[in-house]
Symmetry: C2
Subunit: 292 residues, 2 copies
């Protein structure tokens, strides 16, 4: 199984269009490495058919940056399925970019899928022909076999997307994906609001854990947002009860994704960056690829 990170940044990407923080300015000045698109990965069992997790607003650029995802015929795509971990715009808006009448197969819980399609007039763009989008419903903790791998969606602490802020909370609005092929497995968790026993159980079942690296500190958005990291449903890495301590004790390979533009780990000279590496945790970049 091959897993390739298409996008490693949190919502808004890195740099963020309206942000002039030290990280964003540093990136624009060429001092902090390449830019990062919004979190998404692609995986394949055979190297020919690919599934992507998260359909970010940057999907068009992500596909063009990834030759394995290019069409092999006049109208074609090697993308056999799209898995949605939650209903945030970061994870769903890209579907509207894929509007060229190509049949799409979407895998999502009812909470995530209904939150995207219901009351969404723009979605009619994807209903121009009967087979344009096929939704495959995922249920919490029920494994499905798809095309040579086993997929399980597991609800983890998260939040409702901003456009559904008045809706009824439902645990299935935010899920981890565990993908298993034979004896090897990885998990994708771009949004984790808080520790839970479920997280530890997932982490001990997989070879590679892609984990929420949004914020380093609880107060990282002070002056920019009225909310803290945890209030935004992202368990920060640092601090006494931060996720880095949890991650440091796991036996699997651990890779941070969904990194916010404000996160000091983006600066390789920072103390935060050094602490992450010292904990044995990796920091994904766009195009980061591994086999398992």
């Amino acid at each position: 199984m091959i897993v390739r990170v298409l996008g490693s940044a949190a919502g808004g990407g890195f740099p963020q269009w309206n942000c002039g923080c030290a990280n964003c300015v540093g990136q624009r000045n060429g001092k902090l490495g390449p830019p990062r698109t919004q979190a998404s990965c692609a995986f394949s069992i055979d190297g020919a058919r690919w599934f992507i997790i998260g359909c970010s607003p940057d999907i068009r650029a992500q596909i063009e940056a990834t030759p394995a995802l290019w069409p092999r015929a006049h109208r074609d795509t090697p993308i056999a399925g799209i898995l949605l971990p939650n209903g945030d715009i970061d994870n769903t808006l890209g579907l509207l970019n894929l509007r060229e009448s190509q049949p799409l197969h979407v895998y999502a819980t009812a909470a995530v899928w209904r939150g995207f399609v219901e009351g969404n007039s723009l979605y009619r763009t994807l209903e121009r022909q009967p087979d344009q989008v096929t939704w495959h419903e995922l249920e919490d903790r029920r494994a499905q076999t798809i095309d040579g791998f086993e997929l399980m969606a597991i609800s983890v602490p998260g939040k409702l997307p901003p456009h559904l802020r008045d809706a009824e909370p439902d645990a299935a609005h935010n899920v981890a994906f565990v993908v298993r092929a034979g004896a090897r497995a990885f998990a994708w968790l771009p949004t984790v609001a808080a520790p839970s026993t479920t997280l530890a159980a997932i982490a001990h079942e997989v070879d590679v854990l892609f984990f929420d690296g949004t914020f380093f500190t609880e107060s990282e958005l002070d002056g920019l947002s009225a909310r803290t990291a945890r209030q935004m449903s992202h368990w920060p890495l640092g601090g006494e009860d931060g996720s880095l301590e949890f991650l440091s004790e796991l036996p699997c390979r651990r890779v941070l994704v969904h990194i916010n533009n404000t996160n000091p780990i983006l600066d390789p000279t920072s103390d935060a960056h050094a602490r992450v590496l010292a904990a044995g945790v990796e920091i994904a970049h766009d195009g980061f690829e591994l086999s398992l």
Copy 2:
């Protein structure tokens, strides 16, 4: 006045994610020049405050490719306004990419704006604070003075966006923009379905005309779409009654934008490309800039 083309491609961009036509393959192989993002331009009177026309799904990449549009403070944008020529996803979806609580000023006719916001649950992402989006209504052929320039929206033959296909047709669903500063003016017309006397009147009033270069031939999508160029509301360039003949006779500078991935003019060795240049018409690329 400076005008910069941020994106020169039609909907889907160039290459298009699921297209393996000779043009798209040629681009991916490095033979047809740089890729193209979806049609949009930015203009400025003073070089400090910018307005953009069309808010494409590629807006994030377009801003990062354009240093003049980078923030100059911790949270900031030089983008003072966003003008929407029609309600197609190509021209509107980017608004949802600009969701980081930055106040946005949008200029659009009631038909275009209502077609985007009404019944669109995702739009609530832009309603998280009272001043997040301010809509400035444009009326057909009524000039407004904004920040040192005069703006006029003029309805031209077009079509309803796909997600509004059952709505009541309204001429104000597709407009040309004429932007005038002092004695100089340009017009932006990415979608023109057919010739009209209005087009000729606009063309004789401006110094530069950015014009619909979507298709070269009426049958360009044979085998890919059941509809012809005109049925898709794009007057093709070639043929006896094509737009190239109209354009060739105009006294102003003429620049093609909104070029579809299938258009042979994208290949500089093609006869179509040579015919466009022979008619005195220019072909925009992303980053194409002019002063007037």
